[in-house]
């Protein structure tokens, strides 16, 4: 299912009735940070997969920009290595690679060197002529966020940022990676910088979670079925639990993680996206703004935390040294790049309220962390228990409430926990799980999140990208917590054993309400 509306319906009569009536206009994707890890692991393999599975037009062109003195050939070789190592369709298909690689170019430049942008503009003009890309340019900033403003400015100075592209023909779009700022103030400043060159509808803030099939399936499950939406509110839902757990530590990302922590790394973006998709009202259509309007309404309905509430409704923790799977693992403070006295959280649990008609009184519990028991991302809708009068004396106090769980990863799917009678003379009830698996269970590998998102950007469809007000509202919420935590430096930062579900305080947070975390 195409979630987003066809934003570029073709005038071509041969496109009528085709599964995808949307067609990608010829364009150049300029990747800043072309020799970096993201380009190597994700972007080039994703673009190759799109070429192999053919949504890309023959004119599609990539220009890698970075500081290293690469030739076009060296960049192509790097791309080939990336694809052979990381593409879900590896090894490379040589015939397809042959034509795809002819569209790969490299431009050496410092990100803050004005003359480099002038050279880039000339190269793009040349490619527009030679490859028929029509002045359509996408600028992907796979760089540290500190370069976003500079790159935007210099693209603008080189005449590459205008809505209408070069000479009034074509279009320009810019994709920026998370984190978009590190708090509300910096996010607003960053946006102001970008807005000097690009209008909001040219800016695509990527959160790769939104490109995941199963995240998009949340909308399909809710709005494509008649049976769920009528019970998707405070009358039937007891609580919602969102878990994003990783079993690995920070590994080589200690430097980055020290600045981010679990709150900025996971909660502000991925978890807020899951929360808003689960809680939003039905949009009037699946157009970019209609969906994002509804998501923003959810964020606005989350009341800001008062200082006293932060102590009660938030828990943070940090993994200590220990053992996982029989192997000794370092504690967070012993990880490379991490301050030995670090107070950065590697675990967060939160209780949020959404004060609107649908969700009043329904708590949303969020937890995320590193070095937890297993890697799992799940949204669980826990329904209210029915009165069990009928089944008194049958051990109904041990009955599980009905739970609809949406597993994002791994084993993407949906399962429904419900009660059934155990066959026999006695009235005995047992919980049974009805599972439905997506993803690998379909026998075909779903496209990578980046494939979907890059394609959507080429199509000019920003539904699955984060709008600035979404970003700002979620930072507002996160900032309140972060500020409270930083003001009370002495506040507890419990250490937890690697391989567990985090600090005991997280259990206490939910148990105070007479509930428990789902055992995953």
């Amino acid at each position: 299912m195409e979630i987003a509306l066809a934003s570029q319906q073709s005038q071509n009569p041969l496109r009528v009735g085709m599964r995808s009536a949307r067609n990608v206009a010829p364009c150049v994707m300029v990747i800043f940070g072309a020799t970096g890890d993201l380009t190597h692991r994700k972007l080039l393999p994703a673009l190759y997969n799109l070429a192999l599975e053919h949504p890309l037009p023959p004119q599609f062109t990539v220009v890698g920009v970075a500081r290293r003195p690469f030739s076009n050939e060296e960049f192509r070789q790097q791309a080939l290595d990336s694809i052979n190592q990381f593409s879900r369709r590896r090894p490379v298909n040589e015939r397809v690679w042959d034509t795809f690689s002819k569209g790969l170019y490299y431009h050496q430049s410092q990100f803050d060197d004005k003359s480099g942008y002038e050279g880039l503009a000339k190269l793009l003009e040349q490619l527009d002529q030679e490859r028929g890309t029509g002045g359509n340019h996408i600028f992907y900033l796979a760089t540290p966020p500190s370069f976003y403003g500079t790159i935007g400015d210099l693209l603008n100075s080189a005449g590459l940022a205008s809505q209408d592209g070069n000479g009034g023909q074509g279009w320009s779009r810019i994709i920026v990676e998370k984190p978009f700022g590190h708090d509300l103030e910096s996010a607003m400043a960053l946006n102001k910088e970008l807005n000097k060159a690009f209008k909001e509808d040219q800016i695509y803030r990527i959160d790769h979670y939104l490109g995941k099939e199963t995240v998009q399936n949340i909308m399909v499950l809710r709005f494509g079925n008649g049976i769920f939406e009528p019970i998707w509110d405070r009358r039937y839902v007891d609580n919602v639990q969102i878990t994003v757990a990783e079993n690995i530590g920070v590994d080589s990302r200690g430097d980055y993680y020290e600045e981010a922590g679990a709150m900025r790394d996971m909660v502000q973006n991925h978890m807020m996206q899951l929360l808003t998709l689960v809680a939003m009202e039905p949009p009037t259509n699946f157009g970019a703004n209609a969906v994002r309007d509804e998501k923003v309404k959810v964020l606005r309905a989350i009341p800001p935390f008062a200082e006293a509430e932060i102590a009660a409704d938030t828990v943070r923790g940090q993994y200590g040294p220990g053992m996982v799977g029989g192997e000794v693992v370092r504690g967070y403070r012993q990880e490379p790049g991490v301050n030995p006295n670090s107070r950065t959280e590697t675990f967060v649990a939160l209780k949020l309220a959404i004060e609107n008609w649908r969700w009043a009184g329904v708590p949303f519990y969020l937890r995320t962390g590193k070095r937890l028991t297993k890697r799992i991302t799940e949204v669980a809708i826990q329904f209210k228990r029915p009165p069990y009068l009928l089944f008194q004396g049958t051990g109904t106090d041990q009955m599980q409430p009905n739970v609809l769980s949406l597993r994002i990863q791994p084993n993407e799917g949906i399962s429904l926990l419900f009660e059934a009678k155990v066959p026999g003379q006695e009235m005995q009830l047992r919980s049974v799980n009805m599972d439905f698996l997506y993803g690998s269970s379909f026998g075909v590998e779903p496209p990578e999140a980046y494939e979907r998102l890059l394609l959507d950007c080429m199509l000019g469809d920003s539904t699955l990208f984060t709008r600035i007000d979404e970003t700002e509202y979620s930072w507002q919420l996160i900032d309140a917590i972060e500020h409270a935590w930083s003001r009370s430096l002495a506040a507890a930062l419990p250490q937890y054993e690697p391989g567990t579900w985090g600090p005991k305080e997280a259990d206490a947070l939910i148990e105070r309400d007479g509930r428990t975390w789902r055992r995953l």
């Binding site: 071509n12 009569p13 041969l14 085709m18 206009a25 192999l52 053919h54 030679e130 028929g132 029509g134």
Partner: protein, 407 residues
């Protein structure tokens, strides 16, 4: 003498009247076994019933393998009918099996019905009760259907979709006409689709892509000549131009081209048709066989293994009558442009080439398997409704070969 292995040897023979009951028992046994091993129970759910009709028990075995590969996407009840008119007798025998693969989460249930010649006419009374109530029913007909037979009509009436393959049919003039006739008569209750049509999707996409650019689009209505080449075997063997005509029918129906005149050098090959667009402008359509191309049915086992084991040194092959090249010539304001999609020698790739004055369009090579040329059946099971674009293409194709009905 080579012993031919019965593909259904492990299935449980049951009386026709006890198929449902025995299937219930088998699921119960399967779940009891899983429970004993500590594995979670599997739910017996289906999203559709797939009735598969073939005249050969051996083919039925091959096709069943294909059905199993679909089961994780389309958990289904498969009713496989092997009705060999040469197998004399009055009997219909039933065999059943359930299967669960917890690794791939695929599961389903199979019912094989083997009908002897005199019992074939009674098949609807056996097959239709086995269709799961309330779920879509697909009738997949392998080979040429017995046009006009009561048995065919009854099975179609009990189905939501009839899936055929024009590439498996033997007399294209008759088949296209009969298929169109069926489509018109059964429109209210059953949609018709064709795995060859699905397999052509990448070709349609590549040709459409030429004209996506607003600068190139005007050339589409200035086409002068269209050549469609299709795979043929040896020169004296029977050819199957059905896919070529279906493709030409698609172009014509999208662009409003109507048949005016046909110049046939033989019954099934090297045909030229003069078409007229809505302004009365003439377009020459040529349908040509490309002899000596290795052809096989896509679902045959050795081919199927090749399909899913890319990189093996198996000889290249295509579906019978598969498209080999499309060539369009257009002239706009005196400027001549050509648009070509051609299958490569390895038969697995297609390359585009176009020459348009003052417009640069790089060549592009695609891997046809990667864009769905060889896995058409799964796609067929995804949709239920009518595909009006296919239906209009079929009507146009039937008109090209001179047997179509004028709507």
């Amino acid at each position: 003498m080579t012993q031919v292995q019965d593909p259904f040897a492990t299935m449980r023979p049951v009386e026709l009247g006890k198929v449902e009951q025995e299937l219930d028992n088998m699921w119960r046994d399967a779940n009891a076994h899983l429970a004993a091993t500590g594995a979670p129970a599997v739910s017996r759910n289906s999203v559709l019933t797939l009735v598969l009709y073939t005249t050969s028990r051996t083919y039925a075995g091959h096709l069943l393998e294909v059905v199993h590969t679909l089961s994780s996407q389309h958990p289904s009840r498969a009713v496989i009918v092997a009705a060999d008119p040469k197998d004399e007798g009055d009997e219909i025998q039933a065999q059943i099996a359930t299967f669960v693969n917890t690794d791939t989460n695929s599961y389903g249930e199979d019912i094989v019905l083997t009908a002897q010649s005199n019992a074939i006419k009674h098949l609807p009374g056996v097959v239709l009760p086995l269709i799961v109530s309330g779920l879509p029913a697909f009738l997949w007909w392998s080979g040429e259907p017995p046009w006009g037979s009561e048995m065919l009509e009854s099975l179609i009436d009990g189905s939501d979709r009839l899936i055929v393959d024009i590439g498996e049919m033997t007399h294209i003039e008759r088949s296209l006409g009969a298929l169109e006739n069926l489509m018109l008569r059964k429109a209210a209750r059953c949609a018709i689709s064709d795995t060859s049509w699905t397999a052509q999707a990448p070709w349609r996409d590549l040709v459409a892509q030429f004209f996506d650019s607003p600068a190139v689009l005007p050339y589409l209505s200035a086409a002068e000549r269209v050549s469609v080449d299709f795979a043929a075997g040896e020169e004296d063997a029977q050819e199957n131009s059905g896919q070529a005509y279906l493709f030409a029918g698609w172009l014509a129906s999208r662009l409003g081209w109507k048949t005016q005149q046909t110049h046939a050098r033989s019954m099934d090959a090297n045909r030229q048709h003069t078409l007229r667009d809505t302004n009365g402008r003439a377009i020459l359509l040529e349908v040509n066989p490309r002899y000596g191309v290795n052809q096989r049915n896509w679902w045959e086992p050795d081919i199927y293994a090749t399909t899913f084991n890319a990189g093996q040194d198996a000889p290249p092959w295509v579906r019978p009558g598969a498209l080999m090249s499309i060539h369009i010539t257009a002239r706009l304001e005196g400027k001549r442009a050509t648009f070509t999609v051609a299958r490569e020698q390895d038969l697995a790739h297609a390359t585009t080439l176009c020459h348009i004055p003052d417009i640069a369009v790089p060549s592009q090579t695609i891997h046809l398997d990667s864009v769905g040329e060889r896995e058409p059946i799964s796609e067929q099971l995804r949709s239920l409704g009518h595909d009006s674009v296919y239906e209009e293409a079929l009507t146009a194709a039937a008109q090209f070969v001179g047997t179509g009905k004028i709507r």
